[in-house]
Point group: C2
Chain length 242, copies 2
């Protein structure tokens, strides 16, 4: 199977590693254009599962070493899936909105937490890191196969589509503490760039929230802040369900 170093303009991307590949095969086999096994991959059980799903869905499977040299020199990776990119649309409901996220690994870790807390729709406001980057997909541990991501032209563009959502921008100087804020309705949890946070004018939108921390640090890591917010926003749902 022909592969080449990933580029943003390609219409395919790559899922690296058995866990991630299985998430795609189990959740959206229609997006999988092919699966490549490393000649020294020895997990008979996983290979059998892959072969069954690929056979049912007419997905080609090859065994060859070269694609691994091109796509994953450094990693302990024995399975690659070629994934077709589809520009997604998010659904009405609860959202995470990422304004100018810049790090592929962080984007993937946020996808994993979103899937974990049942928030399956992520809006992205550019400029932003490529959410199809193989590093994003790998960091998501396969959650990229479950969440819907839509890139909007601007935050106004996003709001014009989801105007009835309650907006909660997370800011270092947010006016209320997370633990003192009731997050309700259909909600949008909004986070800024890793280094610079949200632009100051987001403090005039909706209900700005602060995750209080000591001045030992400048800020929390972005996926950490987003995940604490997701936990707080969804904990009552879980308490009720259990």
């Amino acid at each position: 199977m022909k592969v080449s170093r990933y580029k943003k303009e390609d219409d395919i991307t790559y899922a690296l590693g058995a866990t991630v590949v299985m998430e795609y095969l189990n959740n959206c086999p229609d997006k999988v254009k092919g699966v490549i096994l490393h000649p020294s991959f020895r997990s008979a059980e996983t290979i059998e599962k892959i072969n069954i799903i690929c056979s049912v869905n007419s997905i080609p499977v090859t065994t060859e070493e070269k694609p691994f040299n091109i796509l994953s020199q450094k990693e302990n990776c024995f399975v690659i899936a070629v994934i077709g990119k589809e520009r997604g649309h998010i659904k009405a409901g609860n959202h995470v909105v990422l304004v100018n996220p810049s790090n592929a690994g962080n984007m993937g870790t946020i996808m994993r937490s979103c899937a974990g807390f049942g928030i399956l729709d992520i809006a992205v406001i550019p400029p932003a890191v490529d959410h199809f980057d193989p590093k994003t997909i790998r960091a998501s541990m396969g959650a990229a196969a479950r969440v819907r991501v839509e890139v909007f032209e601007s935050f106004d563009d996003y709001r014009s589509r989801f105007g009835t959502n309650n907006i909660y921008p997370f800011m270092l100087d947010g006016s209320t503490l997370l633990q003192d804020t009731k997050i309700e309705g259909n909600f949008s949890l909004v986070f800024g760039n890793e280094a610079t946070g949200l632009p100051a004018d987001y403090s005039k939108i909706g209900h700005p929230i602060r995750i209080e921390h000591t001045d030992n640090i400048d800020s929390l890591n972005l996926p950490i802040a987003a995940s604490i917010a997701l936990f707080a926003a969804t904990k009552d749902i879980f308490s009720k369900e259990v």
Copy 2:
């Protein structure tokens, strides 16, 4: 200044990048054995700050390129500090306990969250990743200069020193939900390995807690779980202080 690729058995480690170096110089200049500036480092303000602190503390400063080639080929890094390792002792109070953590970046991200939520003492139960690894220090964004880390022989060894702490092991099958558990007293938040979690027998210790998530994912990322726990355990302290 002579540097070599970091090895665990060395009695020095390295802080890479201006932010991290400044944290060490501001918080524990006594641990800094030397500072190396890259010849193309242009931030006059930072260079002046470094020179003042190093002069006051008799820390040598050199400008040379070679150490950067050895220690940080890939990173956008213009300042390195040589840090003396000191085997630390944690203090009585609230702790995070990491049982068999295996990833250096995760360890650093946890240090950053611990510093952020004011929990400055981290116990480590081996086998464990080296908490002096430059990758850990870099991921901590310098919080490594603020937290105390102590490696214990075993969890029993840890408990024999801090027997009055309330123990909260975080487990996928913990008996109570985090949002329904009052974390009190001097507390120890205990987390297992990234891939395998805590051994099953920790469910008989203290008050096992579960951070509920959907079955979309196998588990939360370790620093995410630890940070959600830190937020929940400290939020009443912050609410009162504000």
